[in-house]
Protein backbone atom coordinates (compact mmCIF):
# COMPACT_ATOMS: atom_id res chain seq x y z
CA UNK A 1 0.00 0.00 0.00
CA UNK A 2 1.41 3.38 -0.95
CA UNK A 3 1.85 5.79 1.93
CA UNK A 4 1.16 9.48 2.06
CA UNK A 5 3.18 11.15 -0.66
CA UNK A 6 4.22 14.77 -0.69
CA UNK A 7 5.75 16.80 -3.47
CA UNK A 8 8.08 18.42 -4.03
CA UNK A 9 10.59 17.17 -1.48
CA UNK A 10 12.39 20.48 -1.44
CA UNK A 11 11.28 23.92 -2.58
CA UNK A 12 13.27 27.12 -2.65
CA UNK A 13 11.38 30.37 -3.15
CA UNK A 14 12.11 34.05 -2.93
CA UNK A 15 10.41 36.27 -0.39
CA UNK A 16 7.11 37.55 -1.76
CA UNK A 17 6.57 34.62 -4.11
CA UNK A 18 3.93 31.93 -3.81
CA UNK A 19 4.56 28.29 -2.96
CA UNK A 20 2.34 25.31 -3.75
CA UNK A 21 2.79 22.06 -1.88
CA UNK A 22 0.98 18.85 -2.73
CA UNK A 23 -0.16 15.83 -0.77
CA UNK A 24 -1.66 12.52 -1.87
CA UNK A 25 -3.29 10.59 0.97
CA UNK A 26 -3.37 6.88 1.46
CA UNK A 27 -6.00 5.28 -0.75
CA UNK A 28 -9.35 5.36 1.05
CA UNK A 29 -8.40 8.14 3.44
CA UNK A 30 -10.73 11.13 3.18
CA UNK A 31 -9.07 13.49 5.66
CA UNK A 32 -5.89 15.45 5.07
CA UNK A 33 -4.10 17.47 7.73
CA UNK A 34 -1.31 19.99 7.21
CA UNK A 35 1.28 20.83 9.86
CA UNK A 36 4.19 23.25 9.86
CA UNK A 37 7.40 22.21 11.60
CA UNK A 38 9.58 25.28 11.93
CA UNK A 39 12.93 25.29 13.67
CA UNK A 40 12.44 26.13 17.31
CA UNK A 41 8.65 26.26 17.07
CA UNK A 42 7.75 22.58 16.92
CA UNK A 43 4.77 21.23 15.05
CA UNK A 44 1.91 23.62 14.49
CA UNK A 45 -1.48 22.63 13.11
CA UNK A 46 -2.29 24.43 9.87
CA UNK A 47 -5.36 22.98 8.17
CA UNK A 48 -7.70 20.02 8.11
CA UNK A 49 -9.63 19.00 5.02
CA UNK A 50 -12.23 16.30 4.83
CA UNK A 51 -14.54 15.32 1.99
CA UNK A 52 -13.40 18.33 0.01
CA UNK A 53 -14.09 20.94 2.65
CA UNK A 54 -11.93 22.86 5.09
CA UNK A 55 -12.99 21.65 8.54
CA UNK A 56 -10.57 23.50 10.77
CA UNK A 57 -7.58 25.80 10.58
CA UNK A 58 -4.87 26.70 13.00
CA UNK A 59 -3.63 30.09 14.03
CA UNK A 60 -2.05 31.08 10.72
CA UNK A 61 -2.70 34.13 8.53
CA UNK A 62 -5.03 33.89 5.51
CA UNK A 63 -2.10 33.77 3.11
CA UNK A 64 -1.89 30.11 4.12
CA UNK A 65 -4.68 28.39 2.24
CA UNK A 66 -5.40 25.18 0.49
CA UNK A 67 -7.93 22.89 -0.99
CA UNK A 68 -8.85 19.26 -1.29
CA UNK A 69 -9.69 17.72 -4.62
CA UNK A 70 -12.36 15.11 -5.42
CA UNK A 71 -9.73 12.37 -5.26
CA UNK A 72 -8.90 13.59 -1.71
CA UNK A 73 -5.46 14.84 -2.62
CA UNK A 74 -4.68 18.26 -1.25
CA UNK A 75 -2.74 21.37 -2.03
CA UNK A 76 -1.31 23.91 0.39
CA UNK A 77 -0.67 27.39 -0.95
CA UNK A 78 1.42 29.97 0.80
CA UNK A 79 1.19 33.45 -0.69
CA UNK A 80 3.47 36.43 -0.16
CA UNK A 81 6.19 34.24 1.30
CA UNK A 82 8.12 35.52 4.29
CA UNK A 83 11.46 34.29 5.56
CA UNK A 84 9.73 32.88 8.65
CA UNK A 85 7.73 30.51 6.43
CA UNK A 86 10.86 28.42 5.96
CA UNK A 87 9.96 25.09 7.53
CA UNK A 88 9.16 21.45 6.96
CA UNK A 89 5.52 21.12 5.93
CA UNK A 90 4.01 17.78 6.84
CA UNK A 91 0.84 16.26 5.52
CA UNK A 92 -1.06 13.45 7.22
CA UNK A 93 -4.14 11.52 6.22
CA UNK A 94 -6.74 9.39 7.94
CA UNK A 95 -10.18 7.95 7.56
CA UNK A 96 -12.53 10.57 8.99
CA UNK A 97 -14.05 8.20 11.48
CA UNK A 98 -10.60 7.43 12.84
CA UNK A 99 -9.71 11.07 13.07
CA UNK A 100 -6.58 11.64 15.07
CA UNK A 101 -6.30 7.98 15.94
CA UNK A 102 -5.41 7.12 12.41
CA UNK A 103 -2.87 9.70 11.29
CA UNK A 104 -0.27 8.61 8.74
CA UNK A 105 2.32 11.22 7.87
CA UNK A 106 4.18 11.87 4.66
CA UNK A 107 7.89 12.70 4.61
CA UNK A 108 7.27 16.39 4.18
CA UNK A 109 8.21 19.26 1.90
CA UNK A 110 11.16 21.37 3.00
CA UNK A 111 10.35 24.98 2.04
CA UNK A 112 13.18 27.45 2.10
CA UNK A 113 12.44 31.13 1.60
CA UNK A 114 15.40 33.30 0.65
Amino acid sequence: EAGVTQSPTHLIKTRGQQATLRCSPISGHTSVYWYQQALGLGLQFLLWYDEGEERNRGNFPPRFSGRQFPNYSSELNVNALELEDSALYLCASSWRRQGIGGYTFGSGTRLTVV
Binding site: Q6, G42, L43, W48, R55, L90, Y103, S107, G108
Partner: protein, 112 residues
Protein backbone atom coordinates in the same frame (compact mmCIF):
# COMPACT_ATOMS: atom_id res chain seq x y z
CA UNK B 1 -5.87 25.26 26.94
CA UNK B 2 -4.28 21.99 25.99
CA UNK B 3 -0.51 21.77 26.11
CA UNK B 4 2.25 19.18 26.06
CA UNK B 5 5.61 19.52 27.75
CA UNK B 6 8.65 17.46 26.98
CA UNK B 7 11.16 18.74 29.53
CA UNK B 8 14.25 17.18 27.95
CA UNK B 9 15.46 18.72 24.70
CA UNK B 10 18.27 16.20 24.34
CA UNK B 11 18.92 12.85 25.99
CA UNK B 12 22.08 10.78 25.55
CA UNK B 13 21.94 7.08 26.29
CA UNK B 14 24.46 4.31 25.81
CA UNK B 15 23.52 1.56 23.40
CA UNK B 16 21.92 -1.28 25.34
CA UNK B 17 20.88 0.96 28.22
CA UNK B 18 17.29 1.64 29.20
CA UNK B 19 15.45 4.76 28.10
CA UNK B 20 12.70 6.93 29.51
CA UNK B 21 11.44 10.03 27.74
CA UNK B 22 9.17 12.29 29.72
CA UNK B 23 5.92 13.84 28.62
CA UNK B 24 3.46 15.90 30.65
CA UNK B 25 0.19 17.17 29.31
CA UNK B 26 -2.52 19.60 30.23
CA UNK B 27 -5.99 18.65 29.11
CA UNK B 28 -9.39 19.03 30.75
CA UNK B 29 -10.96 15.75 29.73
CA UNK B 30 -9.67 12.23 29.26
CA UNK B 31 -6.78 12.71 26.85
CA UNK B 32 -5.91 10.87 23.70
CA UNK B 33 -2.11 10.56 23.89
CA UNK B 34 0.46 9.69 21.27
CA UNK B 35 4.17 9.17 20.80
CA UNK B 36 5.69 9.69 17.38
CA UNK B 37 9.25 9.29 16.16
CA UNK B 38 10.95 11.35 13.45
CA UNK B 39 14.19 10.24 11.86
CA UNK B 40 16.35 12.95 10.26
CA UNK B 41 14.70 14.44 7.18
CA UNK B 42 11.71 12.14 7.52
CA UNK B 43 8.06 12.44 8.43
CA UNK B 44 6.57 11.20 11.66
CA UNK B 45 5.86 7.59 12.51
CA UNK B 46 3.36 6.60 15.18
CA UNK B 47 4.99 4.55 17.94
CA UNK B 48 1.96 4.07 20.16
CA UNK B 49 -1.24 5.69 21.35
CA UNK B 50 -3.49 5.69 24.39
CA UNK B 51 -7.23 6.25 24.20
CA UNK B 52 -8.58 4.32 27.19
CA UNK B 53 -8.25 1.06 29.09
CA UNK B 54 -4.96 -0.44 30.16
CA UNK B 55 -2.66 2.38 31.16
CA UNK B 56 0.43 0.55 29.96
CA UNK B 57 0.52 0.71 26.18
CA UNK B 58 2.76 -1.37 23.96
CA UNK B 59 3.99 0.07 20.70
CA UNK B 60 6.22 -0.75 17.80
CA UNK B 61 10.00 -1.20 17.92
CA UNK B 62 9.88 -2.43 21.53
CA UNK B 63 8.59 0.84 23.00
CA UNK B 64 5.96 1.18 25.69
CA UNK B 65 4.36 4.09 27.51
CA UNK B 66 2.46 4.43 30.75
CA UNK B 67 -0.44 6.82 31.26
CA UNK B 68 -0.54 8.24 34.78
CA UNK B 69 -3.57 10.44 35.23
CA UNK B 70 -2.56 11.62 38.71
CA UNK B 71 0.73 12.93 37.33
CA UNK B 72 -0.64 14.05 33.93
CA UNK B 73 2.18 12.07 32.37
CA UNK B 74 2.68 9.70 29.47
CA UNK B 75 6.32 8.68 29.59
CA UNK B 76 7.89 6.57 26.88
CA UNK B 77 10.20 3.70 27.78
CA UNK B 78 12.39 1.11 26.15
CA UNK B 79 14.39 -1.48 28.11
CA UNK B 80 17.39 -1.56 25.77
CA UNK B 81 18.08 1.01 23.07
CA UNK B 82 19.71 0.33 19.72
CA UNK B 83 21.75 2.75 17.63
CA UNK B 84 18.85 2.83 15.17
CA UNK B 85 16.65 4.43 17.85
CA UNK B 86 18.54 7.71 17.48
CA UNK B 87 15.87 10.15 16.34
CA UNK B 88 13.58 12.85 17.64
CA UNK B 89 10.58 11.79 19.69
CA UNK B 90 7.37 13.76 19.97
CA UNK B 91 4.56 13.43 22.45
CA UNK B 92 1.14 14.74 21.42
CA UNK B 93 -2.35 15.06 22.84
CA UNK B 94 -5.52 14.99 20.80
CA UNK B 95 -7.49 18.18 20.79
CA UNK B 96 -11.00 18.97 19.52
CA UNK B 97 -11.55 19.05 15.78
CA UNK B 98 -9.14 16.25 15.09
CA UNK B 99 -5.91 18.17 15.55
CA UNK B 100 -2.96 17.22 17.67
CA UNK B 101 -1.14 19.44 20.14
CA UNK B 102 2.55 18.61 20.13
CA UNK B 103 5.42 18.75 22.56
CA UNK B 104 8.65 20.38 21.43
CA UNK B 105 10.35 17.01 20.99
CA UNK B 106 13.25 15.19 22.61
CA UNK B 107 16.30 14.36 20.55
CA UNK B 108 17.71 10.97 21.47
CA UNK B 109 21.44 10.46 20.99
CA UNK B 110 22.90 6.98 21.29
CA UNK B 111 26.47 6.51 22.53
CA UNK B 112 28.24 3.46 21.11
Amino acid sequence: AQSVTQPDIHITVSEGASLELRCNYSYGATPYLFWYVQSPGQGLQLLLKYFSGDTLVQGIKGFEAEFKRSQSSFNLRKPSVHWSDAAEYFCAVGAPNYQLIWGAGTKLIIKP
